[in-house]
Every structure is written in C-alpha cells, then in structure tokens.
C-alpha cells in the first residue's frame, strides 16, 4: 500500500523511469530515470506518515533538474516514522551544512493529520545543488537550548499545555532555556482524526540538533494516553538521545552519511551516536552502490558526564555531481 504510493511518488519526481510490478506484487523491476523535480502534488497513503516519503525526498531533492516543490498529503505525525516536525527541525539544518541552503529550502506544515485518517498537508521545497561540500562535523558542542512543539488536533487545547508542563518538569533539571510551542490546529487544518503529540529538539552551541518525539495512540487503537505521561516520556526520550549524542540526530544518521558519500572527492567526517540498525543496513547499501566504505572509529567521551560512546565516521566522497542540472 504505502510502497505503491511511494513508487508512484518516485515516478512523479522522475522522468523516464520504468517500473514494472508483476501481478502478484512479488517482484519489482525499476529502471531509474532522470530526477526531474518541478511543482508536484502527491497523496501519500495514510498507512505511513509523510515522514517516510519525505525522508527519501530529502535525499533526492538537491539533485533534481528543476527545483522541487511538492505538496504531500497524508499523515503528518504518527508513532512509527519520524514526523514532519522532527524532519523540519533536524534534517534541514543538516542539509544546510552540506551547502544546500537558500530561501527555498523549507518544509511547511499547512495542515496536521493524525492517523488513522490523516488529512494533513505539507509543502516541501528544495533548491538545487551541483556539488555538495564536504563536512567536518566532529564537535557537537554543548546544548544551549531546548525547543519543541506540542500539538493537538481535534482534542482539547488544554492537552498541549499539559504536555508542555510535564516535559518541562523533567528538562528543567538540566537547562533553563526551554521553550515549547503549543500548536493547536482548528477546523480544516486539523485533519480528519484526533490526536496529540510532542516533539522536542535540543540545539547545541555548534548547531547540532538532537530530537525526540512521541505521539498519542491513534483513535480506536490502544489505550488512551495521558498527556502528562506522554510529555514526560518524550522528555526522557530526548535525554536518551542526548545520552547517545553525536553531531547528527539518530533519525538523520543515514541522510548525513549519504550526503557525505555523494560529496566531492574530499574527506568528510562526522561524529555520530551509536549506529542504528537502519543506518547499519544503509551503510551496507552504500558500499554496494558506491563502493564506499566508511572508516568507523569509536570515541569514548573523555569526561565522565558526556553521555555514551560516539562513533566517528570518515569517508571520501564519490565526487558525485548533479548531471541533470542545466548550465547556461
């Protein structure tokens, strides 16, 4: 279901791809075409959140022929995938590190949609780049502020405030500079299903952004969640993330590694927290596709109270350049 939707999205974004799926749906033949981009719209399947689609678009968008501007409709926040809020807060600053910046790099949440019915709308725009810059991103720095959003749709607006309250109670032990926005959507912009949730980001002095999020159970599934509990758990998740540390959020590890791989033929370095299984699998894919192997070194924080072990990833880029971008 969502896979089919994803394939359709890829088809929209590219030009000249050949996709063949056999009748039973067991084999897929895909011949990639040119990444074309342009102004598009796509209805994502509500079985996965938009984050699932957006993640891959984030990888592809800088290498299109025309700047991408896409409207995605579906579930904005759910419990499985990284939500749009998190990607907005973490992935975009990461892309900026690689030289993909400018006015048009933006994720805009027009409407929120919670599972199971969705109804959210997100606009993603991304400029083009010919080559990516190598990065040296080995010092995460100290966390200077914590920001976040507590959203609630089709439920009492008080929910958001309750979440904020409880999250602050935990985080205040570490840092005074906390501000959590409450985002209560009404009417059309609130999607089709009720729900609430929260995402938190911790920003360091060096611009590293770590994030954590949690969403309520979708309507009619599971037991009801208390907003206080959710807020507390989310704050704890953030602390866990901080404990893992690294310069890149655990959800964006693979994105960072991919962009490093696609950079110029220079050495890129990045410090990560423990590698997630997804990232490990991703690294294997990178090796099979690009013949790129990362130098993986583990670093123990020198001091006692700096969280868990970190992994220093080093690689030489493949010298990828955007061939589809037109020059004049």
């Amino acid at each position: 279901d969502f896979e089919a939707s994803f394939i359709r999205l890829i088809d929209k974004v590219t030009n000249g791809s050949r996709i063949e799926i056999n009748q039973t749906g067991t084999t897929l033949y895909y011949q990639p075409g040119l990444l074309y981009g342009g102004s598009l719209e796509h209805d994502c399947s509500p079985s996965r959140s938009i984050g699932y689609y957006l993640e891959s678009l984030l990888c592809l968008a800088p290498f299109m022929k025309h700047p991408l501007k896409i409207v995605l409709r579906g579930v904005t926040n759910d419990q499985v995938d990284p939500s749009v809020d998190v990607l907005k807060a973490t992935a975009l600053p990461l892309l900026k590190r690689f030289g993909i910046d400018g006015e048009s790099l933006e994720i805009k949440i027009n409407r929120r949609g919670m599972p199971p019915k969705g109804g959210g709308e997100v606009v993603f725009t991304c400029p083009l780049r010919k080559v990516l810059q190598p990065i040296q991103f080995t010092d995460p720095g100290k966390i200077k502020r914590i920001r976040g959003t507590a959203y609630s749709v089709r439920v009492s607006p008080q929910m958001a405030n309750r979440m904020v309250e409880s999250a602050r109670s935990i985080l205040n032990k570490f840092l005074p500079d906390i501000y959590i926005y409450t985002d209560h959507m009404k009417g059309v912009s609130s999607g089709k299903s009720p729900g609430f949730g929260m995402c938190l980001t911790a920003e360091t002095i060096n611009g590293t952004i770590l994030s954590a999020e949690l969403a309520s159970n979708p309507q009619g599934q599971g037991t009801a969640v208390l907003p206080e509990e959710l807020g507390q758990n989310c704050a704890k998740l953030l602390l866990e993330e901080v404990y893992r540390g690294g310069c890149v959020d655990s959800t964006n590890q693979s994105l960072a590694l991919l962009l490093m791989t696609l950079g110029q033929r220079d050495v890129s370095k990045v410090l990560l927290g423990p590698l997630s299984p997804y990232t490990i699998e991703f690294l294997r894919h990178l090796r099979s596709f690009f013949q790129i192997m990362f130098k993986i070194e583990t670093k123990n924080p020198e001091e006692e109270h700096m969280g868990g072990e970190k992994v220093l990833m080093t690689c030489v880029g493949t010298g990828f350049s955007n061939l589809s971008k037109t020059i004049r």
Partner: protein
C-alpha cells in the same frame, strides 16, 4: 723605426655619449634643462579627472581579480604518478630520436626500439612517462586527454604541418596541458640569417596558438644520429622542473595509461573458440582520481568495461628513498617499459615479475609458500580484513601455476566473495557457495577432507585460545603440522591425494585429543570457577588469535621462512629456554618428516604434549594465578590489562552478590560484553547489570555500542563467521547435502518495517540521579573542558595581561600574586640550583611556552585580519581540506586504505577486465596507447546530450544535420548522428539543416552521458589522411535533457473552395475532422498575406473547415498554417573501435558513411523535384474588368463625379453623313498661297518677339544698375542724417547728465 702616425682623437658630436657630455656641460654652467618635468611642474601631474582616476583604479582591480582562479582543493597525492610526456609531431621529424636521447640523458641506457610508454625516474621527486604520438588522429585524441606535457616537434626546415595545429586544437578542447615546442632540423639551414628569420617566424606563430611566451626549444643539429647532449640535457632539466596545472577532466576521473597487457583467458576456451571474449589484465600507474574496484572504465578504441578486479603492485619504477643527496645514484635511475621489453631484465628480481623469462627458480619458491597461505586463509578467514586480503591474494593467484592452485584457490576465493548474512544477535553466518563448489568438483572424500579442515579450523582457534595455559608453543606447532601436511600434499599432488585425505582426519583427531588433554590439564590445575573464566578467556583469545592470524597473513607477503622465524622469535620471548629448544627440535622434526603426514601429526602431538608439560612446568606456578599467566603473554598486554580490571570487578561482584545463579548469569554477560567490547566502560556495564531480565535487549544494545568490531558489524564479520563455522558443519547431513534454512536475520529483515527511527528498547531511568549525571556535561550548564571554560579562560587572561599600569591614575595593577609567586619561585628554583624538582620546572616551562604561543596566535590573528579577503579565506579553507585529505588515511596500511578511499593516484595497479573482444588481444600493437579512463557515476549510460557547437573556422565545409559525425567527448571517441538546432527567442529549438558558418548552434545527439561543461571535438572521419584540416567542429556539453524537443517547420496548405465575405471554406489542409479540431483557433495566412483563423470543421468534404480572414479571399489564394513538428533524434551511437583493427590498419576505421559519400561512391544522383527546377517565368497579361458603379451610388454622386451617360454614338446614320468637300484646283492654289503667306507672317512675328525680349532684358539691366546707384546714394544720405541725429542726441544726453549732476551738487 718609423713611428706610425697615430690617429687623432675626434670628439663625438652625436650619439648618446655626446648628448650626455653636453648635458653635463650645461649643468655645470647652471643653465641645463632642469630635472624631471614631474618634479618641475608637479601641478600638471596631479589628479585631473576623478572619473578617469576611478576608472583606472577599477581597471587595475579588474585585472587583478582576473588573475584569481576559483581555488580548488589540491587532491594530488603525496607521491604523484609519473608525468605523462607526449612527444608529438608529424612523421620524420625526430620523435623517436628525441625520446631515445631523453631516456639516455636520464638513465644512461640506450633503448633500441621504443614501443609504448617508457617510465623513467628523472629526479628525486619526479618520474616521467614518455610516449610517442603518431599522426593518426585517434592516437592524437587519446593522448591529448592524458597528457600532462606535450613536446611538440616541429620541422623547422618545413614549417608547421597540419598535424601540429590539429593536435593543438585537440588539446585546447580537452583541457590545455602544458605545451612545449621543439624545433628540429635546424641544421638544414645554411644561411644564418635565414635561420634566425625562420625561428622568429615560427616562434611567433607558435605563440599565437599556445600563449605568448610559450617555451620553444631549439635542437640545432644531430651528432651521430643523436641530438646534441647539452641541448637534450637542458630540455630534460626544463621538463623535470616544470609545474603543471590541474585539468578538470583529468583530476576528476581516474585513468591509467597502460604500459603492460597480459592475457588471462583460459587457454582451453581459446582452443575451443579462438574468437571467444578474452580476459586481460592491464598494468599502469593510476592517475587523476581515486579508482574504486568494480567501477566502470572506458578503453578508448575498444569500449566500455567493468573492472572485474584491481590490485596494486609494488612500484616498478619507484622514486628513491628520501635522502640528503643532490643527485640520483646510477642505481636509482630506473627505466621501465615492459612493452619495449625494458624493465623486465631490471626487475626480474622483484616478486611481481616472476613470469618474465629467466625467473623460474623464483617462481618455484613462490609456489612453495602458496599452499600454506591458501590453507591459512581459507580456514581461518581472519577478522574483517578478509576483503582486503582478497585483493592481494588474488593477484598472486594468477601468478600461480594451475595444477596446485585450482582446487585450493577455488576454495580460497569463492568463500570470501560470498555474500554474508549476519544475524545481529547471534552472529550466525552461512557460506553456501564454498561447499557447493566442492561438491561439484570433488568426491565425497574430498568433502570429508573439507569437514576435517573445518574442524581443524575450529580446533586451531581453540588451540589458539589455549595459549594462556600452555604458552604459545601449541599454536606454533599446530601451524607447523599444517605446513608439513601441506607440504606433503604439494609434493605428492594428485597422485597421493587420497593418502593425504586419509592423513588429514588422523591429524585432526590427534589435534582433538591434544586439546582434550590440554583442557584436562587445565582442569586439574584449576578450580571450577576458574575453568569458566578460562572459557571466557578462550573466547577472548579467539579474537586475539584472529588478529594474530591477520598479522600472519600479512607476513605472507614475505617468504615463509622469514615469517616463521619471526613468529618464533616473537612467541618465544617469554618462553622457557627448555621449551624453546624442544620447540626447535620439534620444528626440525616437522620439517624432516614430510613424507608421511600421519606420522608427523602423531609425532607433533607427542611433542606437543611434552612441550606443553614442559612449558607448564617452566611457567611460574603454572597457571594458578590468572594475572601471572596473562603477564607471561607478551602479545596481549592490553588485553591483560583489561582482564585484570575484569578480574577485580569480578571479585567485587562476588563480594556483593552471593547468589550463584545470578553470578553465573552475570559472568555470562560479562563474557559477552568482553567479546564484543573489550574496553567497555565499567560504570555503564555495572549499571546495566542491575537489570537481568532485559538481557536480550541489552545485548543487542551493547552490540550497537561495541567498539572494536563495529566495522565488522557493518561490513560483514569474519569473527562471528568463524565462531559458527562449527555449527554450520553440524548442520550438514552426510556431508553432501546441507539443510538450507533461510537466515533468521534475513527473514526478520524482510518483514521488518524500514524506518529510520532508532527505537529505544529500554530507556534508562532518567529519574535516577546517577543516570542524570551521566549527561550532565552535555549541557551548557555543565562543566566545560579546560580550554573552553569561560571562567578558566578569564583566569588565564588575567595571567597574561595581569600586569599593567593604569596610566591615568598611576595605579599599577598587579597580576595574580599566585602566578607571580610561581614565577619567582621558578626563578628561585633556578637560582637555588635544583632546589625544586625538575618536573615542576618543566611544567612551568611548558606553561610559559603555551602562553607565548597564545600571544603569538593572537597577534597573528590581529595582524592578518587586515588584509584577509574572501578569496584568501576560501583558499585557506581549501588548503585545510587538502591537508585533511592527505593526512586522514595516512597512518593506515595500503590495503585498508584502498578499501576506504579506493586506489589512490600514484599507485601502480593491475586491472583485470573481462569480456574484451578477441581482436584487441590478437591485433595488439604496443605503438598505440592503451588508456583506461574511469567513468564517474552514470557516465557509463547512454542518453541524449545537448551541445553548443561551432564549426571550426579552418574546416572547409559546413556540417549537415543527420550526417554521422565522430565526436571525441570525455574519454570516448564515437560516431553519432547529431541534429543541429538553434534556439529561437521564445525558447523553441528549431532544427537547422546545416551548421551556420560563423556562429554557434546547438546540437543534440544520442550518446554517452558526460557532465556539463565538458569540451568535445568532432571530425568527419578518422581514417586516412586528408589534406585539409580534419577537425570539423568544437564545442561544449550544455545539458543532458532527455526530453528536449527539436522541431522543424511544417506548413500545411489548403485551398478555398467557397468564399463568403471574410469567411471561407478551406479544403485540402487536413484529412479528418479530428485533425481540424486539434487546430481550432490556429492562425492561418494566405500567401498574399491575409491573416485569419481556423474556426470549425465542416461536414461535407472530410478535413475541410471554416475559416475567417481579415479580408476577402480569392479563389486563387493558397492558405497555409505554420506548425512545428518534433524531430526525433536518431539513437545511433557507435564507439570508434580503432584498436580492434589489425595492425597497420588501425588508422583506417570507418563507421557509418554519410549519404553524400554513399551517393558519390555509387554514382547515384539525387532525384530532383520537378517543381524546384527553374523554368522561364511566363506572365499572362492581366485583364481588368470595367469599373461598375451601382445605380444607387450613381444617384448619390454629385453631378461632377457622375459618370456621364454619354452613350457611345453609334454609327452616324447614312442620312446624317456629311458629304466630303472636294476642292477645285483654283481653290487649292489659293489655300496653298494663303498658307505660305501665313507661314511667313508667323515667322516675322516670332522674330519680332525675340527682339523685343532682348531689348527688354537690356533695359532691365540698365534699370537695375541705376537702381543700385540710387539705393547707394540714398543709403549714404541716410547715414549722414542718422549720424547727425545721433550726435545731436548724444550731446543732448551729455548736457542733461551734466545738468543733473550740477543739480545734485547744487542741491
């Protein structure tokens, strides 16, 4: 003696000397011209115009910035590849002679025949690869792409030839390498003046082509068939100090100028089918960029291939080691040119070139080593470096002779190639292919053997783990046993295969026994508790042994003996002397008894036992004390430490927890942790031990965190692989079949949700103070590092700037007393002569140095800040990156490094390529360069490419659309069919039939994808020699758009068949109503220029439609609609395969012919359209109808304009006819007279008139004169009068003024 009259001195009167003298003289007098005009008259030279000043400033700045290039990261490796020097010139100009002379100059060697590239060491840091380039355009194109320096030979006696210019243009297109001209044949000039003139002429022409001031070298003449030594020497010096600029294409692509080619095809296949595709290996220095294995390459003149394998070899023409000397030794002046047959003789001592003649003895040696390595490698596939090992071992594979190698090697290589699926939890690994292959090849017995080998492997690893207890002797002996077995096997080869097989099990058994015994010993010696610990350590040691193995396999490169002795030395450090002796004896035994492996094994095992017992006896207190044992282990010192810590912890734990079960569990966990993570932080481990229920999850987590084998975890493990080898063996049913179970891991993976979120299995309890404190310092509120802490920094600053005097108040601020005191203290210390301990002093010193450095840095920063520009910053950044690129992988050994960054330029590599057309091998001609150009991502694909193209100004014809054209683009040369187009103002790409004469146009073709901005050139044909300039067009790639639409104009014509006022019905334009519907609203036009629009289709004649016009049409009008028809680009891409041609015909490749050529060859004339032939124009006379005015209009007209209704009088009726007058003769006379008279009269009157007119003229003249005079007079009179009047007036005025003044005074 008569004195000769001396010539008198004559002072100079002219010339610079005289001038100077005169000046001095005048100066002395004081009347000389003064100094500079600038000094004399400074005002004349000040700013006159601010605008101009601004402009000049602007201009200078412009010029300055123009010199800046965008800084690029310098990616040249530390040891660069040899510089490619292409010696180019028309035939018979002296290219080979020059190369020979250069080689002789650099290496003191004489090469008779030069084929292919010759690599020489020209200096301490520079090597050259010299290659000759003939005047075949294929060669020229290929070599221009790889050249760093071009020596362009010019026959001075002849002048420039077309080839020279062609080559220059080729170079220009593919990035401009350094070009140096060399004039030869200068001795043919008899006349010196003529020579000078020619030189100058040629030089200036050369300069206009290359750049003003380009170096042109003169080789004045030949001595004994060689150029003059001094001149060649100078030329060589020039070459070896030359600097090169990086060319974009070359730096972004890896490429190899192959200097050696070997065929690797199975001779059997060739025998069966002599035309089968071949497998070849090419050797050469890698240049440009990093090359990755399995990447795509293009071989110009052959085609695209995928590299099947790459390996690096020791440099055959290495730069000398670093030394202080100025010049090179004779020994270091190397030359390497395998295609010319040079270098082999020099290098047959080197292991790389054993396959050259006269090196059989060495080859044998190599063989001896091989089997053992194979075994070691195949059985103990070491830790993750196996992939690395593969590369090197593969290289050696083909050097190996076949009979021994085949089975072993097959086993050795299929295995590591296998895809390994690893469960993250259990680390279960399967390697199917190995066994299957064995099954195919061998009988059951052999598979048994394999089993045994497996067991052996397991045993070996366990043996390795026993080291702790019994010293290293065991492993050593084990290995020797193996060697012995293998040696035996090798000697007997196939004949004694079975025997060997039978031997092996025996050996394995003995090994098992041995192990048992050793363990038994361990048990007797140790308490049960500690046995468990041993197990732990066994596992640890396993890991270690793998490491050992890896190091061993590194040794493999060396000869076996050396390696052995080394191991022996290393391992026997802590061993007792007695055991050493026994070991040696045992070794000797093993070496001697090669014939019967069985016997050896037994003996070995016996000796082993002895040995171990000896060892144990010798060891202080056996292995009671764990730490002691560990200490005895010289290798694993760090492990020993870890274990110590471990031991301590364990004891602690014991104290804490009494429950045995718990303890056991704990220990298990610890084992696990240690296995994966030797340096895990103890606090964390402790903390997690509190929760026993979550073990599985934690294990997983810990694996995530585990340090040393993260790389293995990611890129396939070798370790876990081995661990479960034995399990795999157990799965086998009867040796032949295997239970094939899908991997648990893979199944799980397939069903898993692919989500990038990293879910936390078991969050830590963040309410606990302890846990909270673990991340306390991640926040700004936490503790900072020393050098960043604000408070600390402040303190330091105070120290630095502590002492200062406030000048205003006169208060002297003192720094911190403590610091002062310290300093004074240190002084005291110095004074007091060692009164203070040294380390403290040193610390002080260090501190001071630090301070100084900091100050200096600050000063530097301040000082430099002034003129640092954006450009400088950028440059600095690039420099930093380059530095990082160089240093990042510097400390790694080559094999690991190759994995990370690919093969780096400067390496001498060997590339294996499969499926090469047999013609390449059969028609191989070393005179033609073989180049391997690496392709970037997606550059191997074929697609639509758009170019900006301009016909070359020296090419005589213009190019026609749809004529095949040979392009040289990127690495490739290929024939394709370009379509020329031009972009209209509205962005439409309009097809052109021909290229414009002096203008750029677009071209689109179907061909290989090449990055934008790459230059290309086009030639019509590469075969033969045409007298004209061959390069037809040049240009650059603009775009790679698959959906480009080139359109050509299409006019549809129709004819009106019914005309109303401004509307008419038109037929013949379309064929159906549907077509019309498509064009509804389209603008149409008649030939006469009346514009209109298509309205709607009609029913009656099919395809007819109604249209409206701005005016009424005529039936004779032709109506047309202008449409654009998209043209499809023909998908024709034909690589020029000139290297596949037979020798001697390589320059005669001809692809698709143009239609023009075909017509010319076959004598076919074009059928001309009859309508386009010129005919005499016949114009019919146009007949206009009479003007007809309608009656109503007539009525309305005024009478004047009314057509007069004068009806033509018909014939006057007869009755109204007037009768003709017939004169009488008399009357005739009268009339004649009258007419004569009247004529005379008329004449008279005319005369009188003329006369009168004359008179009148005269009179008028006179009158005018009179008038003038009169006028004059009048004027004078008037003048007089006016003057008088004026005077009078003046007088009056004067008087009145006077009067007034008087009046004033009187007043």
């Amino acid at each position: 003696m008569e004195e000769k009259e001396k010539k008198k001195h004559r002072a100079k009167h002219s010339g610079p000397k005289a001038e100077k003298k005169r000046k001095r003289y005048l100066n002395d007098l004081g009347i000389g011209d003064e100094e500079d005009a600038r000094k004399r008259n400074p005002k004349a030279f000040t700013v006159q115009s601010a605008v101009r000043m601004a402009r000049t400033f602007h201009r200078t700045q412009d010029l300055k910035t123009k010199k800046h290039h965008i800084p690029v990261v310098d990616r040249t490796p530390l040891e660069p590849p040899p510089v490619v020097v292409v010696v180019m010139g028309p035939p018979k100009v002296g290219k080979s002679t020059l190369i020979r002379c250069l080689i002789k100059n650099f290496t003191r060697q004489k090469l008779v025949e030069i084929r292919g590239p010759v690599t020489i060491v020209s200096g301490k840091k520079r090597r050259l690869t010299i290659i000759e380039c003939g005047c075949d355009i294929n060669t020229m194109i290929d070599l221009a792409k790889v050249a760093d320096l071009v020596l362009m030979l010019i026959d001075a006696s002849f002048g420039f030839e077309m080839e020279t210019f062609e080559f220059l243009n080729i170079c220009q297109v593919h990035g401009f390498p350094k070009i140096m001209g060399v004039l030869t044949h200068l001795d043919t000039f008899k006349n010196n003046k003529q020579l000078k003139k020619t030189k100058k002429k040629l030089k200036h022409r050369f300069w206009t082509e290359v750049y003003p001031g380009a170096k042109l070298f003169y080789l004045s003449g030949m001595v004994h068939g060689e150029y003059q030594k001094q001149e060649i020497h100078n030329l060589g010096r020039f070459i070896s100090v030359m600097k090169f600029r990086p060319l974009t294409w070359q730096t972004s692509h890896p490429y190899v100028l192959a200097d050696r080619m070997e065929e690797l095809t199975n001779p059997e296949e060739v025998r069966i089918n002599p035309k089968c595709d071949r497998k070849i290996s090419l050797y050469g220095y890698l240049r440009g960029a990093h090359l990755k294995n399995k990447s795509q390459v293009h071989m110009p003149g052959v085609g695209d291939f995928t590299v099947s394998d790459v390996g690096f070899l020791p440099d055959p023409c290495a730069l000398p080691e670093q030394q202080k000397k100025r010049s090179l030794n004779e020994k270091e002046k190397l030359v390497y040119a395998p295609l010319s047959g040079v270098g082999g003789i020099v290098y047959d001592k080197d292991a790389v070139y054993i396959d050259l003649g006269g090196s059989h003895a060495h080859e044998k040696e190599e063989e001896e080593v091989r089997p053992n390595h194979q075994l070691v490698q195949s059985l103990i596939s070491t830790h993750s470096a196996i992939d690395v090992k593969m590369a090197s071992s593969k290289v050696s594979l083909f050097r190996d002779s076949r009979p021994i190698g085949s089975e072993d090697i097959g086993q050795g290589f299929v295995m590591p190639k296998e895809e390994r699926e690893i469960d993250l939890k259990t680390g279960r690994v399967r390697r199917k292919a190995v066994f299957e292959e064995e099954e195919k090849e061998n009988d059951d017995a052999l598979s048994d053997e394999e089993d045994n080998q497996e067991e052996e492997a397991a045993a070996m690893s366990e043996d390795g783990s026993d080291e702790d207890d019994e010293g290293d002797a065991e492993e050593e002996s084990d290995r020797e046993e193996e060697m012995a077995v293998w040696r035996a096997k090798r000697l007997k080869t196939e004949v004694t295969k079975e025997q060997a097989m039978s031997e092996l099990p025996a050996f394995a058994d003995s090994d098992d026994d041995l192990e048992m015994s050793s363990e038994g010993e361990g048990k007797t010696d140790l308490e049960e508790d500690e046995v468990e610990e041993y197990d732990d350590e066994e596992e640890e040691e396993e890991q270690r042994t793998y490491e050992n193995e890896s190091s061993d396999s590194e040794f493999e490169a060396m000869s076996k003996r050396v390696a052995e002795s080394k191991q022996c030395v290393i391992k026997s450090v802590d061993r007792e002397i007695g055991s050493q002796i026994s070991d040696h004896s045992q070794k000797r035994k093993a070496g001697l008894t090669t014939d019967s492996g069985n016997c050896t094994a037994e003996e070995a095992s016996e000796s082993e036992v002895e040995n171990s017992s000896l060892d144990e006896g010798g060891d202080e207190e056996g292995s009671h004390d764990e730490s002691d044992v560990e200490e005895s282990n010289s290798k694993g010192s760090q492990y020993a430490q870890a274990k110590k810590a471990d031991g301590v912890r364990r004891t602690k734990l014991k104290a804490v927890e009494a429950d045995d079960d718990v303890e056991n569990l704990l220990r298990e966990e610890e084992e696990y942790e240690e296995k994966v993570d030797l340096s895990a932080d103890t606090t964390g481990a402790l903390k997690w031990k509190e929760d026993l229920t979550q073990k599985a999850a934690e294990a997983f987590l810990r694996q995530q965190r585990s340090t040393p084998n993260l790389r293995k975890l990611v890129y396939g493990t070798a370790l876990e692989d081995e661990e479960h080898e034995s399990e795999d063996a157990a799965d086998e049913l009867g040796g032949l079949f295997r239970v094939s179970r899908p991997d648990k891991a893979s199944r799980q993976k397939a069903n898993d949700l692919d989500c990038s979120k990293f879910l936390i299995e078991k969050p830590q309890d963040w309410d606990l103070e302890e846990v909270m404190s673990s991340i306390r310092d991640c926040f700004v509120t936490g503790k900072w590092e020393d050098d960043k802490d604000a408070a600390k920094l402040l303190e330091e600053d105070e120290e630095l700037y502590g002492d200062f005097e406030d000048l205003e108040t006169g208060v002297v601020h003192k720094g911190k007393p403590a610091a002062e005191g310290d300093e004074s203290g240190s002084e005291e210390g110095e004074d007091g002569k060692m009164s203070k301990p040294e380390p403290e002093e040193e610390e002080k010193k260090k501190e001071r140095m630090d301070k100084k450095r900091k100050l200096k840095e600050m000063f530097d920063a301040e000082y430099d800040e002034g003129d640092a520009t954006y450009f400088d910053d950028l440059k600095e950044e690039m420099h930093k990156q380059a530095q990082l690129n160089r240093t990042e992988f510097e400390d790694q050994d080559d094999e690991t490094r190759v994995q990370y960054e690919g093969f780096r330029p400067g390496m001498y590599i060997r590339i294996e390529i499969e499926n090469v057309p047999c013609e390449f091998v059969l028609n191989f001609d070393p005179h033609y360069p073989v180049i391997l150009g690496g392709l970037g991502n997606s550059e191997g694909n074929v697609g639509y490419v758009q170019l900006r193209l301009k016909k070359h100004r020296w090419y005589k014809k213009i190019l026609k659309t749809r004529d095949p054209l040979i392009l040289s683009l990127g690495w490739r040369r290929f024939q394709t069919i370009p379509m020329f187009y031009i972009e209209d103002h509205n962005g439409r790409h309009r097809l052109l039939k021909y290229t414009p004469q002096h203008m750029h146009c677009g071209a689109a073709f179907w061909g290989p994808i090449t990055p934008q901005g790459t230059g290309f050139l086009a030639v019509q044909s590469v075969s033969g020699i045409t007298p004209d300039f061959r390069i037809a067009a040049t240009g650059v790639v603009l775009d790679l758009d698959k959906s480009i639409t080139i359109v050509k104009k299409l006019k549809l014509t129709g004819f009106p068949f019914k005309i109303f006022k401004n509307t008419c019905f038109i037929k013949g334009m379309f064929n159906s109503a549907l077509e019309v519907a498509k064009f509804e609203g389209a603008a149409i036009r008649t030939v006469s220029g009346i514009r209109g629009q298509i309205k709607k289709a009609l029913r009656a004649p099919v395809g007819a439609f109604r249209a409206t016009f701005e005016d009424k049409l005529l039936m004779s009008d032709i109506v047309f609609v202008r449409t654009w028809y998209p043209v499809s680009i023909p998908t024709f891409y034909n690589p020029v395969t000139s290297l596949l041609k037979p020798a001697g015909e390589k320059d005669s490749w001809s692809g698709m012919k143009t239609t023009g050529q075909l017509r010319h060859e076959r004598g076919i004339k074009v059928k001309q359209n009859k309508d386009s032939l010129y005919k005499p124009i016949v114009r019919e006379k146009r007949h206009f109808n009479k003007l007809h005015i309608p009656k109503a209009l007539q009525k309305a007209l005024p009478f004047k304009n009314k057509p007069k209704n004068l009806e033509k009088k018909g014939k006057t009726p007869k009755d109204q006819w007037r009768p003709a007058v017939i004169r009488e003769p008399h009357e005739k006379k009268i009339s004649a007279l009258l007419s004569a008279l009247s004529t005379v009269n008329n004449y008279k009157i005319r005369k009188a008139k003329v006369k009168h007119r004359e008179q009148l003229k005269e009179y008028l003249k006179v009158k005018q004169k009179e008038d003038e005079q009169k006028f004059k007079r009048q004027k004078e009179a008037k003048k007089k009068i006016y003057r008088i009047l004026g005077q009078r007036e003046k007088k009056r005025q004067k008087s009145s003024l006077k009067g007034s003044s008087k009046g004033e005074k009187s007043m």
